[in-house]
Amino acid sequence: MAVSTRYETIIGIEVHAQLRTESKMFCSCATAPPPGEKDEPNTRTCPVCMALPGTLPVINRKAVELVMLTGLALDCEIQTAAVRFERKNYFYPDLPKGYQISQYALPLCANGRLEVPVPAEETSVSIGITRAHLEEDTARLQHGGRGYSLLDFNRAGVPLMEIVTEPDVRSPAQARAYGETLRDILRYIGASDGDMETGSMRIEGNVSLRPIGTDAFGTKVEVKNLNSFRSLERAMEFEVARQADALERGERLVQETRGWHETEGRTMTQRAKEEANDYRYFPEPDLPPLRPSEEWVARLRASLPELPAARRARYVDGLSLSAYDAEVLTADLALADYFDAVVAAGIAPKSAANWVTGEFSRLLNQHAAEGLRSSAVGLRPAGLAELISGVEGGKVSAANAKTVLAEVFATGESPKAVVDRLGLQQVGDAESIGAEIEAVMAEFPSQVAEYRSGKPQLFGFLVGQVMKRTAGRADARLVNDELRRRLEE
């Protein structure tokens, strides 16, 4: 389907993100199984999240903070004067109370903005944030397709944040870039894992088209069931093409919810809107009002970490790193922090970036399968800094430094201990290297003679023999100089 150029694409995005709290939104049940334990269904419930009669909700302070922190990161106004929780009423098996405690008229955060770099379009767009509010997650419902469904209430009541944009997104690529940029921010500020695959972050896209040059919005279609940023982009592309096609044929589009089918690569009708959305919101009488103080907001504002965009700019403008290095480093908060610490230990930024994004990241990814995270690596930034200085000061060869790093990852020893244990201190004095060269020249007299009679390609062979005798520890530059000097004698 060719996308018609006669229409402008209008997309608004809704994100739901589970907040990184220990306990649920309105009760003290854990949000996840203890580390290392399997997630057994229906083992994290209590009378509150199962909606047994006579129970009352109590607000989780941390969840409120994480939403306000997100609001601050998205340049929102934090609604200190009047915040309200409301009941969103609907009857469905995943909702034990028969209503979801959510926010409607008075959300915690409103009127924000996010600058989104869109590499695919070589531009950056400013997306308005309508609101960010706090609510609770529903139970998990498995549709078995056998005439019944199965319910797990572990997820019921987990703190959930909803972030809604203005209809400012103009292309599928921008939609994806927005999702990724937002995810990076949520991870940086520790608000959410932002994991699309496990569902801790969920995205819906509202798409409509309008003839270029007109103001009125067209009929809006909501697309759900997007399990990755890639599916978000593909689903938006499909929907834009489908709608343009329908409009070209003079068909009337219906306002509806469509589900994305990953394998078939298309959206399909889930349900028409009609009158179904009658949630009868009203203020939650079981919760006393919430009025975040100015002091609380100020304290959170002060605690806001440097965000990815600011950090990228600092790396490029302040440390003269390439845009690529800055991108790789800032994609992972722990990696960026690690890089900063290596630089703080006295290593030149370019050098530190090469090691951290190169060999260090390679080993990190290799060990990731074993559950190792950059935040948990035994190698402290000071240790890596010492190793890099060693290479730059000629104490360890670059090749051996890689061996050392691999050993450090495998054994957890310090770089210095590995260097000592494996005897990898670089041999850097002309005298001992000279002795090794003499020994090689004595061992291979015919190769020496051939070199001298005009076969320069044998130089590499002789260097190799010296390196072999020193187990790679010889300073390569010095070997070159000393060998050439002796051969020319």
């Binding site: 709290t21 220990e22 306990s23 003290s28 049940c29 854990a30 949000t31 057994e40 269904p41 229906n42 083992t43 994290r44 419930t45 209590c46 009378p47 199962m50 109590v58 607000i59 989780n60 302070r61 941390k62 969840a63 409120v64 309200r84 009423n89 609907y90 009857f91 469905y92 098996p93 498995q142 549709h143 005439g147 019944y148 469904s149 199965l150 319910l151 797990d152 209430f153 889930q270 349900r271 009158e275 179904a276 959305n277 009658d278 009868r280 009203f282 203020p283 939650e284 009488p285 919760l287 006393p288 009002p289 919430l290 009025r291 975040p292 103080s293």
Partner: protein, 97 residues
């Protein structure tokens, strides 16, 4: 005044299947209930702000600390049908959300 379609609408939202006779009975009943509650509208509230809460408390929050939950046995004690630690319910189509 409540009419038949109001009753049908509310019944659908509550996932109640009502017979015609039940609807016939509920139309006047619900109308009378609303009428009775509607008497409150006669009170002059021009000097009273919108009130959703009458307890003189605000900002009641708890620390984010997880505590032990109920046993699965207790959680599912009232469940009519179970299947492997899960609660079994009839399939409900998405249209109500």
């Amino acid at each position: 005044m409540i009419n038949r379609s109001d009753v049908e609408h509310v019944a659908r939202l509550a996932r109640l299947g009502l017979t015609d006779e039940e609807i016939d009975r509920l139309v006047p009943q619900l109308s009378r209930i609303l009428e009775a509650v509607g008497k409150l509208s006669a009170v002059d509230t021009s000097s009273v702000g919108p009130t959703a809460q009458v307890i003189a408390l605000e900002n009641v929050m708890r620390d984010d600390v997880a505590r032990p939950s109920m046993s699965r046995e207790a959680a599912l004690a009232e469940a009519p049908i179970r299947e492997g630690g899960l609660l079994r319910v009839p399939v409900v189509l998405e249209e109500g959300r």
